[in-house]
């Protein structure tokens, strides 16, 4: 084969490849168009049969599960999410709603000046005696706060909610509230499914504390073992000869003094735990 012939073969291969690439591109493009068309004609992902939108306003979305009666609520008073972002978050919230109500609340002004107090009040006003979880983004106190009650409280303990808050507070700090809320509900769903959530700093800090505590505890153990036990007064008395007699006891009144000591108003002790709710959070 001459050099020219080699060139011709290469050109033919190039043309063949070019046609193949073009055909593949066409098929892929067609597929994508079909997918897109299918997507446009299909119902939204979150809108499964059991959930219906009960109320929808600018910053307020309420969906209800027809079977269980549980509701999904987004109350975006701080206006942190766009409408599409709210729609995007609902499926993640649905994933957490098997056992009760799920709420995502954002506020710009907290009249309680405390995220926990707000959560407690808001939750009680919305669903007084129901199981549920609430995630609050408080722009006033710059705090993320989870609040759970009822059946959720057993799995979503304060510790767990603190871990989730630790994992997501940076997103809120960077202004990505949508990602922050989404990740919050992803991790909540993971916990409800019994999965472990990442808590790298928990291990590091626990390891650090365990070492420090072990060193100190062992020190006190060593001190305790080596500490000389001095005899009690009774032991000493038993080991010596002693006699004791006290005769003619007499009591003589001398005088009386009066000291002003007002009774305290006696405020009651703190009330017992209401039971069944927990909270955890992080500032951002």
């Amino acid at each position: 084969m001459t050099g020219r012939e080699v060139m011709t073969v290469r050109k033919v291969d190039f043309i063949k490849n070019h046609i193949f690439v073009k055909a593949m591109s066409f098929i892929m493009a067609a597929g994508m168009v079909m997918l897109l068309m299918g997507g446009l004609t299909a119902v939204p992902v979150w809108a499964d049969d059991s959930y219906t939108v009960e109320q929808e306003e600018d910053d307020y979305v309420l969906c209800k599960n027809r079977d269980s009666g549980y509701e999904i609520l987004i109350d975006d008073s701080a206006d942190l999410f766009t409408e599409s972002e709210e729609n995007d978050l609902i499926p993640y919230m649905i994933n957490c709603s098997d056992g009760g109500f799920v709420m995502l609340v954002t506020i710009a002004d907290n009249k309680y000046n405390d995220a926990y107090d707000f959560c407690h009040s808001y939750y009680r006003s919305m669903i007084p005696e129901e199981s549920g979880i609430m995630f609050l983004i408080d722009m006033d106190t710059r705090e993320l706060r989870f609040y759970s009650e009822g059946s959720y409280h057993r799995q979503l303990t304060a510790d767990v909610m603190n871990i989730i808050s630790d994992n997501i507070y940076k997103m809120a700090h960077n202004g990505d509230y949508h990602a922050c809320a989404r990740e919050a509900f992803v991790e909540v769903a993971d916990v409800l499914e019994g999965k472990k959530i990442a808590a790298p700093m928990k291990f590091v800090s626990n390891a650090c504390l365990a070492i420090l505590l072990a060193l100190i505890i062992n020190y006190f153990i060593a001190r305790g073992v080596s500490k000389a036990v001095k005899p009690s007064n009774n032991e000493i008395l038993k080991s010596i000869y002693s006699t004791f007699e006290f005769r003619n006891p007499k009591v003589t009144f001398l005088n009386q003094t009066k000291t002003y000591s007002p009774r305290s108003s006696g405020s009651g002790g703190g009330g017992g735990g209401g039971g069944g709710h927990s909270s955890g959070g992080h500032s951002f």
Partner: protein, 490 residues
């Protein structure tokens, strides 16, 4: 030397049989009976005057520390010093020992003593292996320690202050009473060690000795054992004894007099060693010189020494228990794993909480170190040891009053430059942590963790000194006695 009447060999006191035993022919004798026979002439003399109340002893003096021990056996040679642990033949001389009035003979054998010591040592997880070794434990030596046993007499009228309290509206009504009566009490045998070489801390820990088992002193009880020499004056603990007796009587008046039960007896606030209070007479009538049995072992490690002592009557142990740093770290590692597992199971700490915990632990180590230095200082100066203070003497000013002694140089209690830097950084680190937590409200977790790591490093650096100080506290300086034969270079 106490000679066997059957074969002429040396007789030794056997704690198990409580008799004089001849190791050569196996004969045994009653120590009291034996002594009367052997020293009839001396007994006659001693009855005449107390000054001549002496007995023949061999005094062994350590050429290194000047420590002295007595023995009634003149054909033995002491090959090591119990006080400084020096393995050397001690200088010996024949002398006259002042005859004590009472003795509590050894009733625990060396085997009992070893067993009691090992029981304690087995509990001490971090003790260096050599402290459990056979050579070390075989070093226990039976020594009679000199004690002063005081008799306190209380008699005459008692006048205590009592009160009752009741509330009337916004007022507390306190009624004051005089609680009187007559007391007649005695406390015989309140004992305090009479040797400055025997630390008060050890003698307190070995106490109590059951003085009801004391017998009049016979030198034969000392055969096979050594004795320390009394160098603390009888008057030193006299007030302490009468004060102790006073307090016990006040307690008994409170608890055993039904007429006084409804009254709160107002205690006089005074230190226990400052003598009795003023509510009734509590006087020390007599101080008896006594000898109490102690199994004594010393272990020398470089320029430090540890003492292990066992009460020769009750078997109670008081021992210095230093720690082996490697063992300590190993056990701490194991414990850390357990704590880590517990923390991971039950606890999730926020970064703030972790930093607070780390800061508290770091402060705790600094506080421990400060307390340790103070304890070391007291131990080295003998500040809490009346016996040592009495022998050293208190400096007097020209007017005869006490003057403040110059601060002694105690290298063990001094902070080195690294320790100072660590302390300085630690204080700074805790201050920054407090600032971050309470004022700056830092949002990010990382600064908290960084401060935690810094605290942990400072903790580790400081804890090195904690362990070092612990071993200083658990050991002693090599003693230097102001007696004949002391060698300052030791």
């Amino acid at each position: 030397m106490i000679v066997c009447p059957s074969c002429g060999a040396n007789l030794k006191f056997d704690p198990q049989k409580q008799r004089m035993l001849c190791e050569f022919c196996g004969s045994d004798f009653d120590p009291k009976e034996f002594d009367v026979k052997a020293d009839a002439q001396e007994q006659q003399i001693t009855e005449q005057t107390e000054e001549l109340d002496t007995y023949d002893v061999t005094v062994f003096t350590c050429p290194q520390c000047g420590g002295e021990l007595m023995s009634v056996d003149n054909n033995t040679a002491a090959a090591f010093c119990s006080f400084c642990g020096a393995s050397t033949i001690l200088n010996s001389r024949i002398s006259k020992g002042k005859r004590p009035e009472f003795i509590i003979p050894f009733s625990k054998t060396k085997e009992d003593c070893k067993e009691a010591y090992l029981k304690i040592v087995r509990r001490a997880l971090f003790i260096p292996r050599e402290y459990k070794s056979k050579e070390c434990i075989d070093g226990f030596r039976g020594i009679y320690m000199p004690y002063w046993s005081y008799d306190v007499k209380q008699s005459g009228p008692v006048g205590l202050k009592g009160k009752t309290e009741s509330r009337s509206g916004d007022y507390i009504i306190t009624k004051h009473y005089r609680l009187s009566g007559e007391i007649d009490a005695t406390y015989e045998g309140l004992s305090y060690d009479a040797s400055s070489s025997f630390s008060d801390s050890i003698s307190e820990a070995l106490a109590p000795y059951d003085v009801k088992q004391r017998v009049p002193f016979e030198p034969s009880f000392m055969s096979g054992f050594y004795a320390d020499i009394a160098d603390v004056d009888k008057s030193i603990y006299s007030k302490e004894a009468s004060g102790f007796a006073y307090d016990r009587s006040v307690e008994r008046i409170k608890s055993e007099t039904p007429e006084f039960r409804k009254y709160t007896i107002e205690d006089e606030s005074r230190p226990a060693d400052k003598g009795p209070g003023t509510a009734f007479s509590s006087r020390t009538m007599k101080g008896h010189s006594s000898m109490f049995p102690v199994w004594f072992m010393s272990y020398r490690n470089g320029d430090r020494i540890t003492y292990a002592t066992v009460n020769g009557q009750t078997g109670k142990v008081a021992a210095d228990l230093p720690i082996d740093i490697k063992k300590y770290l190993l056990f701490s590692g194991v414990l850390a794993l357990i704590i880590f597992a517990i923390l991971n199971t039950f606890l999730v700490l926020t970064p703030k909480a972790v930093l607070i915990a780390a800061s508290i632990l770091t402060i705790a180590v600094f506080v421990i170190n400060a307390v340790q230095r103070s304890t070391i200082k007291k131990a080295v100066t003998g500040e809490d040891d009346k016996g040592i203070q009495s022998v050293k003497g208190t400096p007097q000013n020209a007017a005869g009053g006490k003057k403040k002694a110059p601060e002694p140089d105690i290298p063990e209690a001094k902070m080195n430059s690294l320790e100072k830097i660590t302390l300085f950084c630690g204080i700074g680190s805790v201050a920054i942590a407090a600032l971050m937590i309470f004022f700056l409200h830092v949002v990010h977790d990382m600064p908290y963790y960084v401060m935690c790591i810094l605290d942990a490093i400072l903790f580790a650096l400081s804890f090195r000194f904690t362990l070092k100080n612990y071993n200083i506290m658990a050991t002693r300086r090599l003693p230097q006695f102001d007696r004949k034969g002391g060698d300052d270079r030791a």
